[in-house]
């Protein structure tokens, strides 16, 4: 473990900025503070790259070992570990800690979070022109708090702390949707809130169960400890809970908690509503980061701590992933609301993540994590693209658009880039994740069902092409319509938001290893080793 | 009777107290109520100093009295500010006029 303070700065500089925003007198100044703060946070998070110096490893096994350590959780960076609450007394005392740190799993997500939040903050710049533009100060304060919450979730290595950050992130989101949202914002916000809260209640149950089912003297909230301590693992494996086997039951509860966030098939209906009603930047964050927390939770908590249950549930989880892929794509095809379409496409894309995780092979984890990041880039881009025309047309009916590529050539080209990235065109980010997951699923040796599932998942490729191209045709191609003829092309600000995401999408697609894989493969292999070693 | 003791002071303070209460209860002028309150506070001050002088011999009574003086000053300042607003709002200084919250 390497101690350091940079991560704390990354997590809490948005909070400081939120406090500054509270006392900043004018709206314009508040906006500047928020943008500068998110920008600084992003730059700070770039400083984390030095630990994963990509030029030093990638090919060389020894270098990889140096960077990622010998086993799961043995090499963490920028760690802060402070006792927060002491439970019990004397030798048997266990502690709730403020324990944050970085490994290959959280690092890409932290950078993604700061990056997307920064761009979303830029995207909020025109808040004066929104229908609900009052209280810009409150908006930015909540926005910055939200960033702290999200970063905290990705960095926390103490389950309790994780839970706290999880809740911290929830409330600002509720208000951001509920106050600055569209016509049905209350419905959407409450739906989001209740769904997520239900999930976190389940997580709370598991949190307590994990604590109390550990053998006395070993009780801890430390996530790394829970995953690697043989005594705790043994106890979790053997325990029963009200006549049920402990591990599968906890796994299911935890899975539902995370599944709501991902979202997985029967728990997904909050997502289209929340997306449609949320303002554009919030949709970006929702799709780009919040959805990733579910996947992150699975990879950080469910699977390392309960690998046996993961195997037990693999079949069902893979089916859920498939349903997500196919069902999400079909639903997306049925949409006439532009934003709803993108929302359902998110469901479809996250299905690949679930499938990749469910098969529990290193390749599958790689694919899933790549898809997480790739979708974290492409879906905010798509949402912002929708937002750009919504700002101009004030509606989102796909069938009422047409010929926008002629009206707005630069925007049209960027839109094509973004949607093709989402479609999974090779050379752009969406392809790698989907391909890795498909190939990994197909070649997973331990599951009899893996091959047919890969075949079914591959049909999603066709459906995705179908609905995205159909949408592009209806919105961007065709004759120019008179009512939209006067639309200005994308402004400098809009370009500044879209172009970085486009560049990253290209970079991820062309150089997946240099831009992402080598920062996380080490940790992902360690997690896969945990699966193997549990026996 | 000639040896002045604690009781003398206390009786005087009691009288002062009762006068203050009466003033507060009957005067139909808000400032009058304030004056009554000052009387009550002075009674308390006398009591404290007397106890300090004749019983404990410590400084606590004097300190408390000192605080009472400070509080009285503060109270007066706030009260007058309130009354000025009250007057501005209702056009009168009669405390009976301010019964809007009456159930």
């Amino acid at each position: 473990m390497e101690y350091g303070n940079l991560l704390n700065w990354v997590i809490f500089s948005p909070t400081i900025a939120a406090a500054v925003c509270l006392v900043t007198p004018r709206v314009r100044a508040v906006k500047i503070v928020a943008v500068v703060a998110t920008g600084i946070t992003f730059l700070l998070s770039l400083g984390l790259f030095r630990h994963f110096a990509w030029w030093a490893h990638g090919q060389d096994a020894q270098a990889t070992l140096n960077v990622f350590g010998a086993g799961y959780g043995q090499k963490l960076y920028e760690v802060t570990k402070l006792t927060w609450i002491t439970l019990g007394q004397g030798a048997g005392a266990s502690r709730i800690e403020y324990f944050v740190g970085l490994d290959g799993l959280s690092f890409p997500l932290v950078v993604l979070t700061t990056f997307i939040t920064f761009l979303a903050c830029l995207a909020s710049w025109n808040i004066e022109h929104w229908k609900i533009s009052r209280g810009a100060r409150g908006y930015f304060c909540l926005f910055l708090l939200l960033e702290t919450g999200m970063l905290g979730v990705f960095c926390a290595l103490d389950f309790f702390l994780f839970y706290i950050f999880w809740e911290v992130m929830l409330l600002p989101m509720y208000f951001l949707i509920g106050v600055w949202g569209g016509p049905r914002k209350e419905y959407a916000a409450i739906k989001f809130f209740i769904y997520t809260l239900a999930g976190s209640v389940l997580m709370l149950i598991v949190l307590l169960a994990f604590y109390f089912y550990a053998p006395a003297g070993m009780r801890t909230f430390n996530l790394i400890e829970m995953a690697t301590n043989a005594g705790i693992q043994e106890a979790y494996r053997e325990a029963t809970f009200l006549g049920w086997r402990f591990a599968p039951l906890m796994f299911v509860l935890l899975y539902i908690g995370f599944a709501i966030k991902v979202p997985v098939f029967p728990f997904h209906t909050w997502l289209p509503d929340a997306h449609v009603e949320a303002p554009t930047p919030i949709s970006m964050i929702l799709a780009g980061i919040l959805l990733k927390m579910g996947a992150y939770g699975l990879l950080r908590i469910s699977y390392p701590i309960l690998p046996g249950a993961g195997e037990w549930a693999a079949y069902g989880l893979a089916i859920l992933g498939l349903v997500n892929i196919i069902y999400g794509a079909l639903c997306a095809m049925a949409q006439t609301d532009f934003k709803r379409l993108v929302a359902y496409s998110s469901i479809s894309h996250m299905g690949f993540v679930l499938l990749g995780i469910a098969i529990m092979t290193p390749a599958g984890l790689q694919g899933a994590m790549f898809q997480v990041i790739a979708h974290g880039i492409s879906s905010p881009m798509c949402f912002f693209l929708v937002g750009v025309i919504y700002d101009r047309a004030h509606h989102r009916e796909i069938n009422r658009f047409g010929g926008l590529w002629l009206t707005m050539p630069v925007y049209g080209s960027l839109a094509t880039l973004g949607f093709f990235a989402s479609l999974g065109l090779p050379g752009l980010c969406g392809f790698i994740g989907e391909f890795w997951v498909l190939i990994a699923t197909f070649s997973a040796p331990q599951w009899w069902w893996a091959k047919p599932f890969a075949v079914i998942a591959a049909t999603g490729v066709i459906l995705t092409a179908g609905y995205i191209l159909w949408m592009i045709q209806r919105v961007y191609l065709g004759k120019q319509r008179e009512e939209y003829a006067g639309f200005p092309d994308s402004s400098a600000r809009e370009f500044a938001v879209l172009a970085p995401m486009g560049v990253v999408a290209l970079l991820l697609g062309i150089l997946p290893d240099q831009s992402l894989f080598r920062f996380m493969n080490g940790t992902l292999h360690q997690i896969a080793d945990l699966f193997a070693s549990h026996g | 009777m000639l040896a002045i003791g604690l009781t003398h002071y206390l009786v005087l303070a009691a009288f002062l107290f009762c006068c203050g209460l009466y003033v507060m209860a009957t005067k139909r002028n808000a400032v009058g109520i304030l004056i009554g309150a000052e009387l009550v506070l002075n009674a308390a001050g006398i009591n404290l100093v007397a106890f300090s002088r004749y019983e404990t011999g410590l400084a606590d009574g004097q300190i408390a009295a000192l605080f009472i003086i400070v509080l009285a000053a503060a109270e007066a300042a706030i009260a007058i500010a309130i009354f000025v607003n009250y007057y501005r709002l209702l056009g009168t200084i009669d405390p009976d006029a301010g019964d809007r919250l009456r159930g």
Partner: protein, 741 residues
């Protein structure tokens, strides 16, 4: 990287640079300049390709082997490294040369064509975009050609698909164009679906996505009888499945049955695009893919390939007979010729199929450009029924087009060993098929040659042959497809292509005659017809290429790259000698047998077309009347579009509607229902329980309190003074109580 590889890689990257340049500053460059930038870029690539070709030509086999360098690791899938490199062999080089050369011709043509064409849509100029897309296409296509890994090939594969999508939809203000673009992309994706699964199988069973590595693993797997060969699904071995699935990609891209429906619609794109992408290069990529994965195809998979090719070539040729749109005739003829190539692959005519690919690229590009010239000259009239007699107005176009028609018809003088490109290449395919059906069964298996001393190629992918690498006296392992036995093929796979070989000259001559000969049928069209100088230059170059380059340049290059076992099925001239030198099987009988069967097919076809159309359309219309049901069937293209529209598109639309309804009413309904129920329960507990029972009691207390409050309220007059008085009274009472106590 070796010098050769560097040349090729730079050749690939130049068009990419041109794309980037045009994408960012193309609009500022303006109308002709943007086009010339693209031309310059592709011309530079052509020069590099020529240099590479010459260098390759002068190299010894050892030098060629040394020119290979280790591929670069791109990423890891699991723990397996995925490597990308340049697949350096003569097929790559000749394909590279063909693509750049044809592209250059077409780019030059496009500058003239697009300048004349209205490229402004609603006042927005898209001239530079056209050339940007074309450059991107060239980059992708060249990448596809040099790819040494199935994954890199797939990536380039998708990118050419993207360019095809963008260029078909170039006139996207037209609904039909954007529909065609989507159809092309989605249909290709259906093929890619199979391709991806095939890739999955390759990775799962062979553990390597590079062409050489996969082939090596395939051979090893066969030797050890791995799961790929022993496990069966639906009675077909997994190895066969793998081959068929990989071939699915080719079915999509090369517009083979049943995914051929997109190519005719793709003619919505500008004509140079049709020439470059949908005739010469991209659609041939499917054949190229099949050639590259050939070593992974089992005999059953080869049969599948052959059957698909056979069905395709016949369907397309028949439909081509009744088409009236000049570009659609060419499109169907393209599908048909692609069918020939695929058939060739299927029957083991590896060299012949690729040879046909190269010659076809030249003459089909030539004909498409000619049709573009015609369309441009006739002010966007594409209907041949309104043309006629254009020869006088555009002689160069007319005669160069005729060269193309002769080439595709396979015109040549059999005895003199002279002919145009199609004569050699198509006949060679048929000859191999003939051998597979009727050839003399003799021994002389390929099995006797040894690895390393065979051919001129470095032995990277030539691995299957070494099945037979054992001690001479041992029983030869016979996987079958290594040494395809004569008399093993169904005769239909020979006779149907032969029949279609008669149809091809007919519809091509019909097309040429209706357009250029006879009397002008539409005075208006005829009056305006004209020819553009800039645009006929490429026509002449391509016609020259068709006349001279094919046999002497393409054939040896392709032959040198052939995976060894299949040399046995190569015939004719030098290749035969080369094969002979390698101890391979030669059957001179096949070629001799073919002369009476198809040697004069082109004469018959031309004659029939001339007889039918020499007096215009009247005779043909009368014939159509007589054969009404057949004619209708052909005009509707065997109703494939209607069928797919109904079953696939309609089915998907239905399923999506059901899915969304399920989402909206069932799942969301359940969510809302649970919310409603919770609300109801709370209301029940609130209204009935709480207000009735609990609240009843509470209310009784409350009412009592209220009444009491009413009493107590009296003194509450809201006057401060009175409160003080009451408080004082209270205190007084307390004090008095103390006193009295």
């Amino acid at each position: 990287m070796s010098q050769l590889e560097v040349l090729l890689v730079i050749g690939v990257l130049i068009p990419l640079a041109s794309f980037v340049l045009l994408a960012f500053v193309g609009a500022r460059l303006g109308k002709p300049a943007a086009g010339w930038v693209a031309v310059l870029a592709i011309a530079a690539s052509t020069v590099l390709a020529t240099m590479a070709l010459l260098q390759w030509h002068g190299m010894t086999p050892d030098q060629r082997l040394a020119a290979h360098s280790a591929p670069l690791v791109w990423a890891h899938l699991g723990a397996v490294p995925i490597t990308f490199g340049v697949n350096l062999d003569s097929l790559t080089l000749i394909m590279f040369f063909m693509v750049t050369f044809v592209s250059t011709c077409i780019f030059v043509f496009s500058v003239g064509y697009m300048a004349g064409h209205s490229d402004e849509i609603d006042g927005v100029s898209k001239f530079h975009r056209f050339f940007a897309y074309l450059s991107l296409f060239c980059f992708s296509m060249l990448l596809l050609v040099i790819a040494d890994s199935l994954l890199l090939l797939f990536i380039a594969w998708e990118l050419v698909g993207l360019c095809s999508y963008l260029l078909i939809g170039y006139y996207f203000h037209k609904k039909s164009a954007s529909n065609a673009a989507i159809k092309a992309f989605v249909t290709n994706r259906v093929g890619d679906f199979g391709f991806i699964i095939g890739l999955g199988m390759v990775f799962a069973y062979l553990g390597d996505l590079s062409l050489a590595g996969a082939a090596q693993a395939f051979r090893d797997g066969y030797a050890q009888q791995s799961a790929l060969f022993t496990q069966h699904l639906l009675g077909v071995s997994l190895a066969t499945w793998m081959g068929m699935l990989l071939f699915c990609g080719a079915i999509g891209k090369s517009a083979q049955f049943p995914l051929h429906v997109w190519l005719p619609d793709a003619m919505e794109g500008p004509t140079p695009v049709s020439a470059l992408i949908h005739a010469a290069t991209m659609v041939a990529a499917g054949v190229y893919l099949t050639a590259r994965i050939f070593v992974l195809l089992t005999p059953e998979a080869q049969l599948f390939v052959a059957v698909i090719g056979c069905i395709t070539l016949s369907i397309a040729a028949l439909v081509a007979i009744v088409q009236t749109d000049i570009k659609r005739v060419l499109a169907y003829s393209t599908i048909s010729q692609l069918g020939y190539m695929i058939l060739g692959m299927g029957v083991g005519a590896w060299i012949a199929a690729l040879f046909h690919l190269l010659t076809h690229a030249f003459f089909k590009a030539l004909m498409f450009l000619g049709s573009g010239q015609v369309i441009e000259g006739c002010h966007h009239e594409q209907d041949m029924r309104k043309m006629g007699g254009l020869c006088r107005k555009m002689p160069v176009t007319c005669w160069t087009f005729l060269v193309g028609v002769l080439a595709i018809a396979g015109a040549g003088i059999p005895a003199a060993h002279f002919g145009l490109g199609g004569y050699f290449s198509k006949d060679e395919i048929l000859a191999v098929a003939w051998h597979r059906v009727y050839g003399a069964a003799h021994g002389g298996h390929v099995g006797t040659w040894e690895r390393g001393n065979v051919g001129t190629e470095p032995d990277t992918r030539v691995v299957l042959a070494s099945y037979a690498q054992h001690d001479p006296g041992e029983q030869v392992v016979h996987p079958g497809h290594l040494n395809p036995e004569p008399r093993t093929l169904n005769p239909l796979l020979f006779w149907i292509p032969v029949l279609i070989a008669y149809v091809t000259p007919f519809y091509m001559m019909r097309c040429w005659w209706l357009t250029f000969m006879g009397r002008p049928r539409d005075e208006h069209v005829y009056a305006h017809a004209h020819e553009s100088k800039l645009m006929y230059l490429p026509l002449v170059v391509l016609a020259a290429g068709t006349l001279f380059a094919s046999y002497y340049l393409f054939r040896p290059m392709v032959a040198a790259a052939a995976p060894q076992p299949f040399l046995t099925w190569a015939y004719d001239g030098e290749a035969a000698e080369a094969a002979h030198a390698q101890g391979a099987l030669i059957d001179h009988g096949a070629h001799r047998a073919l002369v009476p069967i198809v040697g004069f097919a082109f004469v018959a076809g031309f004659l029939a077309a001339w007889l039918l159309y020499r007096r215009g359309l009247t005779l043909a219309e009368r014939l159509a009347q007589t054969l009404r049901p057949l004619h209708t069937l052909l005009v509707h293209k065997f109703y494939f579009d209607e069928l797919y529209g109904l079953v696939l598109v309609g089915g998907t639309m239905l399923v999506k509607a059901i899915c969304y309804a399920f989402d909206k009413y069932v799942i969301d309904g359940l969510v809302n229902l649970s919310a409603r129920v919770t609300e109801r329960v709370s209301r029940f507990s609130g209204v009935v329980l709480d207000q009735g029972a609990v609240d009843g009691a509470v209310n009784a207390v409350g009412r009592g309190t209220w009444e009491l409050g009413g009493l107590v309220r009296r003194p509450q007059v809201g006057r401060v003074r009175n409160y003080i008085l009451f408080a004082t009274g209270g205190v007084a009472v307390l004090v008095l109580w103390l006193v009295l106590a």
